[in-house]
Amino acid sequence: MESTIVSTKGFNAYFGTNHVVKDVNIDIPQNNVVAVMGPSGCGKTTFLRCINRMHELIPGATANGTIMLHNENVYDMHPIFVRLKIGMVFQRPNPFPNLSIYDNVIAGYKLNGIKLPKEEKDRIVEHSLTKSALWNEVKDALHKKGNFLSGGQQQRLCIARAIAMEPEVLLLDEPTSALDPISTSSIEALLHDLKKNYTLIIVTHNMQQAARVSDRTAFFYLGELVEYDDTKKMFTNPKDTRTQNYITGRFS
């Protein structure tokens, strides 16, 4: 059995008085892909943003309970360390419009004021862009602005930016929801590849996608974690009727 890298206990998140994540207990095994599914508004994004402490940046947003990264509660760590160890890719691509593709990839170093020798930077940029399956498309335009890329390329640039920091865990919030099937499949292939070095938690509405890329699936409903199991088991033999209804499309 693999070791657990992230585990939450009795975790709750709120927007003001709106209780959106309710008493979630989940163990994420290392080097796995975990898919988070559930109807719109059930708190998937919120839960994901709690893991790297982005949730608390929203005014009025609060959370309690514990989220352990290895043996340390992320809520006892400084948020900056948490975010360096747990990277994030957002639902909508958000490259830095003022930076070139090259600088976007090393933004985590450059903008944090971490000086690297040129060869090291070149290596990181090539490595990260290769990993995110973008290198061949942009290698001749590295010093052009990143926001002239297509949506799918921008999203892969954002993935490159996240993996350039070599986080231990990568959170992906519907990374392919705005992409065409070709970009989607190249990102899915990428997730498969990234699994060797990282632990991935991916929010998706697409059941085929979850089935294709994930090892385990968590099903959220109205803020609760209803079911969490092997993806195969979950899709073939769900225990909870709410999961069953969702999978068979009885509610959206």
């Binding site: 900056i80 360390f81 994030m88 830095f96 930016r161």
Partner: protein, 281 residues
């Protein structure tokens, strides 16, 4: 029915014509003023005009070198004070939309924008000139910087508020501390808007006379000391245009044209730089 539609089309045409006529009516006085100042000013301007200080009454010639240099110094010092303070305050307001301090700060900025410049001049006189016992360019700069502040603050705030939150989140998610998110991401992305606010505020104060009357005061000689009285273009125009001497009137016309050209140039530079520095979101 047909007649009715024709009537409506006619009404619409009439309305269009009215907007055009009124638009022209606005432009006419503007053009007239520009043309008149140009006509009066251009004949007085030559190389000599820029390199000499005014001559005493009765001697022909003389120039505005002292006022030109004085304006540059007074405005530069005012900018040095107002730009950093204004930008930081604008950042605070855009980042903290709901705090009490932001509310009061915003209110003060609005009120400050409405304070007549002569009042700011008087305040500067009582708080700076009197205690230090002498008119000074510095007190004038401080008075002008107070006039610049609301423009810089508001334009910074409005620019930064328009930037999408996703940009800030991208930066935070990479583990950046707040000050770096602001300085390395937010400000660079909004630089064109901030810059245009700064330039417009400089253009705005370039022609201010009232705050300088009891502060920089004016000086017929060339002076570069900011603790001494200093001549500036608007002061020179005010003092010389209200004098009874024709030579001095000429000087004032020439200076008016220079001032006008300066403000116009600043506006053009603003347009060009903001377009060039614009970050495509």
């Amino acid at each position: 029915m047909n007649a009715h539609i024709k009537y409506r089309i006619g009404k619409s045409r009439g309305f269009q014509a009215l907007t055009i006529v009124l638009a022209c009516a606005c432009v006419v006085p503007l053009i007239a003023i520009l043309a008149y100042i140009f006509k009066e000013g251009i004949t007085k301007i030559n190389w000599h005009f820029f390199t000499n200080v005014p001559k005493p009454v009765g001697e022909p010639g003389g120039g505005i070198a002292n006022a030109l240099l004085g304006s540059v110094i007074v405005i530069s010092v005012a900018s040095l004070i107002a730009i950093p303070v204004g930008i930081l305050c604008g950042i605070y307001l855009s980042e903290n939309k709901t705090t009490k301090l932001a509310y009061w700060c915003g209110l003060c900025v609005d009120v400050l924008q409405g304070v007549p410049s002569i009042v700011i001049g008087i305040i500067a006189y009582f708080w700076l000139v009197k205690p230090f016992g002498s008119f000074s360019a510095l007190s004038g700069s401080i008075a002008l910087s107070i006039m610049m502040l609301p423009i810089v603050i508001r334009s910074t705030e409005e620019t930064l508020k328009l930037l999408p939150d996703s940009l800030k989140e991208a930066a935070f998610a990479l583990g950046m501390p707040f000050h770096r998110v602001i300085l390395k991401v937010i400000v660079p992305c909004g630089i064109s808007g901030i810059l245009s606010g700064v330039m417009l505020s400089v253009a705005r104060i370039a022609g201010e006379t009232a705050p300088l009357l009891f502060t920089a005061f004016g000086n017929p000689y060339l002076s570069v000391s900011i603790t001494k009285p200093m001549q500036t273009l608007p002061l020179l125009i005010f003092n010389y245009a209200t004098s009874p001497y024709n030579d001095w009137h000429d000087l004032a016309w020439g200076a008016s044209l220079v001032l006008l050209a300066w403000v116009l140039l600043l506006n053009i530079i603003t347009k060009i730089t903001t377009r060039k520095w614009k970050v495509q979101l």
